[in-house]
Subunit: 447 residues, 2 copies
């Protein structure tokens, strides 16, 4: 086999999702062979032979897992990390985020995207679904950094159809770029910021372009209540009414589906991005993950933006998801190890609509692979490698990150991003970016 | 000033607890001078001069905080990390922990203690209140590693007064050892495992020895209910009735105080160890921290044992405390940054009954100091250093750890523990330690 990349003697941890339930599969002492952008073999160590040109990476004392997927983020918001602490959701939007975002230039977004992507790669994230604006700059950062991305240019109803059309042009410019690492969709912000006619138009544009839609929905009880009062419909019913749910969709958060929404979600080609750190920090409650699981509605893990979650760290979100679910039902047997990992791996791959290619680390899949160091005292002993990954490992254990067959991080060193340059560029923008000008904001959250 | 140790040009983050509420105090560009075991000066950089024999540590791009205190742990349980996942509390005790602990030899406890202390030092923990058995071995590990500790030898009622007396002998052997780094108290396990007469005897022994008592109490609603049924008294009333609360006490968990318990807690010389990861993971609910705060009942942070919390990481517990409290009351303004840090610093110092010496990083206090790297992309930018510490920093950022004026960790390298040796010793014990022999356990949790 003519391998381009060979990882030798790693332990491999994946999840097998069988009808009787998910099972953690742990295979010590394995080789992983990569040709181009794809995994071609996962075999006991010593089986695969490098040719002279093969890049060989030692997997000694390393755990290989499928590349982690961040199913919903606003990556450039790392620029505002720590600027909106201990405030209500209304204040968070109206007094902090949306005024702060009015300061952003496209160049700011570019440097913010690189800063956030650096954090994600260091944390073992190989693919991100990003929902922001000035997205050409984010796409450029994706090209340069080597990460995989599903990108949408966020648009609010008050910006009108012209702005929606500009986000369609973004899709046409970037679809399939970067050797196929970039997927571009449409990103109407939410049913509470886009009226039904605007959502209908977005669905029509998505159909014309043959793309999906990434949208926030049903984040709080109040949003659902307001939707029922204003429209006589739940937010998810509005998505169905406006044909949004006839497209492939990625629904961010969806904490409060109503009983009548479940059949709509089951019938749709959809997935839910779950970002528990934001929900805990903003006191939002949590999503009915057990119900989603039972109905086979796909759920994946997300970081959301760093102004609510303060990190872009999927291992942390994985841990918080499991802890928060056990807490919510006050049952320590809820969300067991294998189920949590199935959500992180296969679930997230389904949510970004790449279930065939990502999340399983098997021949034929894309070569998005993470190696974690296993020699830390905090992950010793290793009675249960799956539990260690969820409850003991941390982002700093990530040693090697491979995306699309290319090594982006090796022995903890970023190979594609000049961190010092990025940090210097960010530093000189901070004073300007942190200003909040009274009355100036990009949108208004309805009270 | 004749300095033994000088940290140059660090940023210093502490909390000032004023009557109007706690305030984060951030001072960039400071020097910290140490003489012997004590901090003697915290001054703008350049003010303090080293003598030839002064050990100088660069604080460039480092954040200095008071050494983190772990107010309740079972350190050697790291040996069982990952062995009791996704099980009920009853099964956790009766089918896992107590059978597993019947395998332990004193030598196992020694190596387990060193493994756990290594994890704690790497995570910036400078002091631990440990509640376990074979405690001479733990004390030996404390001596060798250089950490500070409050140690108790756990005892159950069914082991009888003879065993209680043996734990008193432990106190006499170890009180004030290791240059005063070791404090030894008594450790009757809990009101649900020690009958009132036994608790009364423990209180009497503690009075005779002039020491405090570290005990589990009111961990679950069921424990409180059972206590009311069996004794007509809450678990905390039992502690008062049996004179336990007339001693200095450290109460682990205390999730379910009843209304009649609050005056007892306020009147006592006590503090509560709060370990939120265990509570989330075992679906136990959480403690009324807002009420404790309002009544000025001291609360500190704890890891509990690694079989429930999977890590010995106080930064993680700090983050989870704040997130869980905001979640519990569904209010993002609850447990603001300064309050969470006041609990981690001064609160924990009060809980281990060393409020004068620890938790404030000021002249006159003990030199227990942690430096964290501040150049990671995940803590960039630094709009709010306090929020970054709680919500973005991680144990792996810990760079330097000083206890009692001695450097235990420098640039991430442990200076006092041979990690490879410890890991090898642990590895060869695992197969034996992981066995569960039907019917063999050290105690029984009442169903």
């Amino acid at each position: 086999m003519e391998l381009d990349l060979l990882i030798q003697n790693c332990d491999v941890l994946t999840v097998e999702v069988a009808p009787e339930g998910p099972q953690v599969r742990f295979r010590p002492g394995m080789d992983i062979g990569v040709q181009g952008a794809r995994v071609v073999a996962v075999e006991p160590t010593g089986t695969l032979r490098p040719r002279p040109a093969t890049q060989v990476i030692s997997g000694d004392r390393r755990l290989a897992i499928p590349g982690l997927i961040n199913t919903h983020a606003h990556v450039p918001m790392v620029l505002f990390r720590g600027l909106a602490e201990d405030v209500t959701i209304e204040a968070w939007f109206n007094d902090y985020i949306w005024p702060l975002e009015s300061n952003l230039t496209p160049e700011d977004v570019y440097w913010g995207a690189l800063l956030g992507i650096a954090e994600m790669i260091e944390a073992g994230i190989t693919c991100v679904a990003d929902h922001y604006f000035a997205m050409d700059q984010v796409a450029q950062a994706v090209v340069e950094s080597g990460i995989r991305a599903n990108l949408v240019w966020a648009v609010f109803g008050h910006q009108g159809p012209e702005m929606l059309d500009r986000t369609c042009e973004f899709v046409e410019r970037w679809q399939g770029q970067a050797d196929g690492r970039i997927t571009a969709w449409l990103g109407p912000h939410a049913p509470y910021t886009c009226p039904p006619d605007f959502l209908r138009l977005a669905a029509e544009r998505a159909r014309e372009l043959g793309v999906g839609i990434h949208i926030h929905v049903a984040e709080t009880r109040e949003q659902v209540q307001r939707s029922l009062e204003q429209h006589g419909r739940t937010p998810i019913q509005l998505l169905a009414d406006t044909q949004i749910l006839e497209r492939p969709t990625l629904l961010a958060h969806c904490l409060y589906p109503q009983e009548e929404d479940y059949p709509l979600l089951q019938a749709a080609d959809t997935g839910i991005a779950h970002a528990p750190k934001t929900y805990l920090k903003l006191g939002m409650g949590t999503a009915p993950l057990a119900r989603f699981w039972e109905l086979d509605i796909p759920v994946g893990l997300a970081t959301d933006g760093a102004v609510s979650s303060n990190t872009l760290d999927i291992l942390e979100q994985l841990r918080l998801m499991a802890l928060a679910q056990k807490d919510a039902v006050q049952d320590p047997t809820a969300m067991p190890v294998a189920q949590a990992l199935a959500i992180a791996f296969q679930g997230s791959a389904r949510v970004v609509h790449q279930a065939d290619a990502l999340g399983h680390l098997a021949p034929g899949g894309l070569a998005d692979i993470v190696l974690l160091r296993q020699d830390g005292v905090h992950v010793t002993p290793r009675h249960d490698p799956g539990a260690n990954l969820i409850y003991s490992a941390r982002a700093a254990d990530v040693d090697t990150v491979i995306v699309h067959g290319r090594v982006l991080l090796q022995e903890g060193r970023l190979l594609t991003i000049d961190k010092a340059r990025v940090q210097a560029e960010v530093a000189r923008r901070l004073a300007r970016l942190a200003q909040r000008v009274p009355g100036r904001r990009i949108a208004t959250y309805p009270a």
